[in-house]
Symmetry: C2
Subunit: 385 residues, 2 copies
């Protein structure tokens, strides 16, 4: 299902031969309309991959017929030759679909700094186009073809009366999924304007993908693309569309957290009582990024002092005398001082809830994160992964 | 030698019984004058340990007779009781030295959130005072007593004509030594004003301790204290004193890098061609902190794409088309594109030099860092270390 759950979409996922392993590595998602409304959010990294540079141009029109996504190579730091490869890929997809290259976005993920084999890629686009359909299997095949170190394909659907939203994603970095490249395609058969689609997408991303650890650390390739076919005839409000997009994006973000590289703990850092929502996000992110907090999580150690120290160096308003820290429901620090026996907090399970109450205002936010484990070091120290 | 190399100083390091292991855990450094000029740099963490709060008050006078330093407990997040412990420690030292409590600074390091056993601490101060002397062994004993996960005592001396600077430090965190608490005492027998001492100390810290990975991530206890006895009668200029302090502080920072938790690689991130020195520091820090870069270092992988991605999300001016990356002398990326065979860069040794040339302006800076290894995860996931 996923991206083909909404009416008007077809998808495919095939093995083009970009991955040495021979596993699926090329996906195609096509919007058959009647409308081809589109919006996207791209990495803010100043070093942008060729497919990002290409797709940013394409998306200025607010319309899109298709997205080609490949794993097995990021096509980043590849210069003019890399850009020509992205362009040629769009031309090839446009040719087989009978549209213009300006209607085709490109997303890539994999090693930075290597050219993609253009012939292999273009042959793969033809092969994918030949297997396009709207069956549930095609959505799964597309989700599977964009996996890198992901261990499971990630899909989600939100069904509304008469219309729906579907989505696929990949991304398995731990510290910041975006760094390991996060690619996502969201589809809907709602009939909405490009402005409504853009607004709903940005609002959804802000509280889902952007709350999975850190958005300050972005890869060269991160891309989230939304396409609306209008095939349902339903015209939800921007609020209704935002809620549905958020539901799908939050599900996909949680799936990425659960499948993060080397994860043994899934942690939610919930900050309340901040001076503002921004402050709450800043404190939660700082705690979530702190390597000493992450290794303590791996060790099932309720070391709240490290959490207090991380909160203290976050660039946000904080009063050390009104700082409360609760781990898995056990209050360990009240007013900045130890509040009982830390061994009462049981971190032996896979899920950990860290609550940091600042006691200043009404701002609150949650960041999803993971621990820092041996498996993370192992996976990321492998040669040029 | 170290802190007792300059004339006018005595030191001691003893086992007070704060550490369960029975290892040395309390140091005392005394300035016998004739002058008692002092300056200090403290953590910018908003959650400050009790000894920091105490010492900040003491240092407002610009004079200091002695510093008591203990490992085995940070006395942070300990509320009024913890502050009273710091105060009582200063009172005890003042009593046995025949000075005022306002002349005694306190530094602590260890677990956050636990009260220090006050009686044990005060008895330790008496014991340390009884063994104070100016022998080379006493400097080593003081350096040894402040070790936590450090594996070697860290000392340095800079000798000038007629005067000298000495120093000791501890700190063994990898991501940011400051997070694992960095304590340092620098001494000199130069005759200088408090303003000169403060200026030289801040200038030295800025290019040494602050360039060892990250200063944005600070512990609750980080403290660097400088004391001048005037015993040499020599009156170096602020520039001369800055150079000598910088020499000692850079040596101590390099020793901390070499002894960082779980380190298998010592990496220098050198950024040149930045729009400003601040931009160079920002880019170098961002690369140094990036977990994907750090794990690649551990894996001896010349994965320059991760370095390019980290540079690209640093909050600094950057032109992806003028980005050069060189690892251990081998140019791997020129103008943002692969520049040859990455396997030519040999990272099998313990020292790695990463050069990032931005091609924009004349700003440059170096940050010292380390890899992210299994040993780091092991050491920091141990229960409440």
């Amino acid at each position: 299902m996923s991206v083909v759950a909404p009416r008007g979409f077809r998808a495919a996922g095939i093995a083009a031969g970009l991955k040495v392993s021979g596993k699926p590595d090329l996906a195609l998602v096509v919007n058959d309309g009647p409308e081809q409304t589109a919006a996207a959010v791209f990495t803010r990294n100043k070093v942008k991959a060729a497919p990002v540079l290409w797709s940013q141009q394409v998306l200025t029109t607010g319309t899109l017929r298709a997205v080609v996504l490949n794993s097995g190579g990021a096509n980043a730091c590849t210069g003019p030759e890399g850009f020509q490869t992205a362009h040629a890929t769009a031309e090839k997809a446009a040719e087989v679909l009978g549209v213009g290259a300006i209607d085709v976005a490109i997303c890539s993920t994999g090693l930075i700094g290597a050219q993609l084999p253009r012939d292999v890629l273009l042959a793969g686009v033809e092969k994918a186009a030949a297997s396009l359909d709207a069956s549930p299997e095609s959505g799964l095949a597309a989700a599977t073809a964009i996996m890198t170190t992901d261990t499971v394909a990630k899909q989600a659907v939100a069904v509304r009366e008469g219309w729906s939203v579907g989505g696929i994603t990949k991304g398995a970095g731990m510290i910041a999924p975006s760094m390991a490249t996060m690619l996502s395609v969201l589809t809907t058969d709602a009939a909405v304007s490009a402005e409504t689609l853009d607004s709903a997408l940005r609002a959804a991303v802000r509280v889902s993908f952007d709350r999975l650890d850190v958005d300050g650390s972005m890869s060269t390739n991160d891309t989230v693309i939304a396409m609306a076919s209008g095939a349902s005839g339903a015209a939800p409000s921007v609020a209704e569309l935002t809620v549905a997009f958020t539901e799908v994006a939050k599900s996909l973000a949680a799936q990425m957290q659960a499948d993060a590289e080397g994860v043994t703990k899934r942690a939610t850092i919930r900050v309340t009582g901040a001076a503002s929502e921004d402050d709450a996000v800043t404190v939660a992110r700082t705690v979530a990024r702190d390597s000493l907090v992450k290794t303590a999580l791996f060790g099932s150690d309720p070391n709240w002092g490290r959490i207090a120290a991380a909160a203290g160096y976050a660039e946000a308003e904080l009063d050390p005398d009104s700082l409360d820290i609760t781990i898995n429901g056990v209050l360990l620090c009240r007013g900045g001082v130890a509040a009982g026996d830390r061994s009462l907090a049981d971190l032996s399970g896979e899920d950990v809830l860290v609550e940091v109450a600042l006691g200043i205002g009404g701002g609150e936010a949650e960041i999803l994160t993971t621990d820092l484990s041996h498996a993370y070091v192992e996976e990321n120290s492998a040669y040029s992964s």
